[in-house]
């Protein structure tokens, strides 16, 4: 009986097409990092200012 051949990684990568970064992807990356860094500062400040560490 014929069974389908398992795909090879090298063939899949060779088949991959070049795709330039779209403006929406650049936005996703930039907003994500900016939001992440801003939240890091904000949540760290909230945590240490308003939520006392139990002794």
């Amino acid at each position: 009986m014929h069974t389908p051949r398992e795909p090879k990684l090298i063939e899949e990568l060779d088949r991959m097409q070049q795709e330039p970064l779209l403006p929406i992807e650049k936005k996703l990356i930039t907003y994500s990092i900016v939001l992440g860094v801003t939240l890091l500062a904000l949540l760290a400040w909230i945590s240490w200012t308003f939520f006392e560490v139990p002794g």
Binding site: I10, M16, Q18, E19, L22, E25, I29, G36, P54
Partner: protein, 484 residues
């Protein structure tokens, strides 16, 4: 047959909830004077092998250790066989696979508890030992992982025969549901600290996800020329959640199934590397900051199994080091709770993140190409259901002990009995992770480009950003002190 069953019966995720809750409910028998699980086997640190195994409850003190082990095996086998039936697995192959995996795991736990390997300094005198490696009984986990790696990579044909029962995600999720009860009892003894861990764990993962994912995606797209179909699952797999995130993201952007599968095979291999390295690094450099170490495991180690497993190891190693170096005895389980909490928030976040990606891909990137519609049901579909089981067992015992403080001791006994199954499921997870970690993948043609993104991302910034974020939120927070 099983194809007629609803998703509630066909999902490994739901079955981890059912099995975990059943063990939890049976363990609660002691609250009503019924010791239903006291016959479960407990492994103790030993110098005399005959003293290694015994029943967990004094009520069953007359039961020989080997019978307690056999009883535990039989109970776990029956429970998982029922699940395997509904999951549509080949029951005969499952039975054989489960038996081998259980037997090797139990052997590793037994050897891992050998005094020269496991004993902490405070236990050496009682065991009549002059020295020991100070690794605690959790050394059994490492042995199970090594055994799995050896078998999986050197004897692939034998490993394939165990495949039906090689299910690390099922085992670890069941263990996590059981563990929720024990952590609930611990949390009741220090509600302020538990609340702090939960709040800060949530804070830590939000920005970790946002920063990690975007950086890996950018790196893969810009510098390694990966297409969007490859870069998105790769970013999710490498950056945070491993296999489940790669698969969820692949589905969200309608990638071909082969893409997340290939990414996942790499994720599993590197998760093992992290699992072996990071807990020992944490022991060396973070024993002053135990909760930072726990959160770091949750934020840096991929896949549920490896992350929670590394939390368990770090809990033991850091406590042993703190005792040996500073004479400080931390209570068990708080680092594990921190690692588990952060990891579970990450898992919950997968649903939200894959929903966002699906919306962006559907409306902006693939707009007009497919008739795909994205609804909020997508979040529920991706929601890790075992988290519900964990929250339920955690909340039940937390609320019960806070409401009736006199239940604290008996609730601890109940969770000790459930813990028998948690420990064995944990060990089986380690062994199974080893079995499925196919290091030959690293020699596959074309892997270099994929592995390069992974290595640069993981060791270049993910581990260190994870450490930094863990430090920001958890430094200075200590587990409660124990009695030694």
């Amino acid at each position: 047959m099983t194809t007629e069953h609803s998703p509630f019966w066909r999902s490994e995720d739901w079955w981890s909830v059912y099995l975990g809750l059943l063990v939890f409910l049976l363990s609660l028998g002691v609250l009503g004077g019924l010791d239903l699980l006291g016959w479960g086997v407990k492994f103790s640190v030993w110098a005399d092998p005959l003293k290694a195994l015994k029943a967990v409850s004094p009520e069953y003190a007359g039961l020989p250790g080997y019978l307690a082990l056999l009883g535990t095996y039989a109970a776990m086998l029956v429970l998982t066989l029922v699940g395997a039936h509904f999951l549509g697995l080949d029951l005969k192959r499952f039975l054989v696979g489960f038996t081998v995996i259980f037997a090797v795991s139990a052997l590793c736990l037994f050897l891992g508890h050998y005094g020269y390997i496991a004993a902490t300094p405070d236990k050496r005198e009682a065991l009549g030992l002059g020295w020991s490696l100070n690794l605690t009984g959790e050394a059994g986990y490492i042995l199970a992982l090594l055994a799995g790696l050896t078998l999986g990579n050197l004897f692939p044909a034998a490993t394939r025969r165990l495949a039906e029962a090689t299910r690390p995600e099922w085992y670890i999720k069941t263990a996590i549901v059981i563990m929720g009860a024990a952590l609930g009892v611990k949390a009741a003894s220090a509600t302020g600290l538990a609340g702090t861990i939960i709040f800060r764990g949530l804070c830590a993962i939000v920005e970790a996800y946002l920063i990690y994912w975007a950086l890996v995606y950018f790196l893969a797209r810009k510098y390694f020329g990966f297409s969007r179909e490859w870069a998105a699952p790769l970013a999710s797999g490498v950056s945070i959640c491993g296999v489940s995130a790669a698969i969820a993201t692949g589905a969200a952007i309608r990638a071909r199934p082969v893409v997340p599968i290939m990414v996942s095979s790499l994720v599993v291999v590197f998760a093992v590397v992290e699992l072996v390295l990071l807990p020992f690094l944490a022991q060396q450099f973070l024993y002053h900051e135990p909760m930072v170490a726990g959160a770091w495991m949750g934020l840096a180690v991929k896949t549920d199994g490896a992350a929670v497993a590394s939390g368990a190891i770090v809990d033991s190693l850091v406590r042993a080091k703190a005792l040996a170096e500073e004479g400080v005895v931390y209570k068990e389980g708080w680092m594990l709770m921190t690692a588990t909490t952060t990891k579970m928030f990450i898992d919950v976040f997968i649903g939200i993140w894959s929903f966002l990606l699906a919306v962006i891909w559907c409306t902006k990137i693939d707009a007009g190409k497919s008739g795909q519609r994205v609804g909020l049901g997508h979040i529920w579909e991706r929601f890790p259901k075992f988290v519900l089981g964990y929250v339920l067992t955690f909340a039940c015992l937390l609320v019960a002990v806070l409401t009736w403080p006199e239940l604290q001791a008996v609730a601890a006994t109940a969770t000790d009995e459930g813990n028998v199954f948690r420990v064995l499921f944990f060990t089986m997870t380690f062994f199974s992770i080893g079995l499925i970690s196919d290091f030959r993948k690293l020699w596959e043609e074309g892997i270099g480009r994929l592995a390069a993104v992974y290595l640069i991302s993981l060791f270049g910034f993910i581990i260190w950003i994870g450490l930094f974020i863990s430090w920001v939120f958890f430094h200075g927070i200590k587990p409660p002190l124990g009695n030694g």
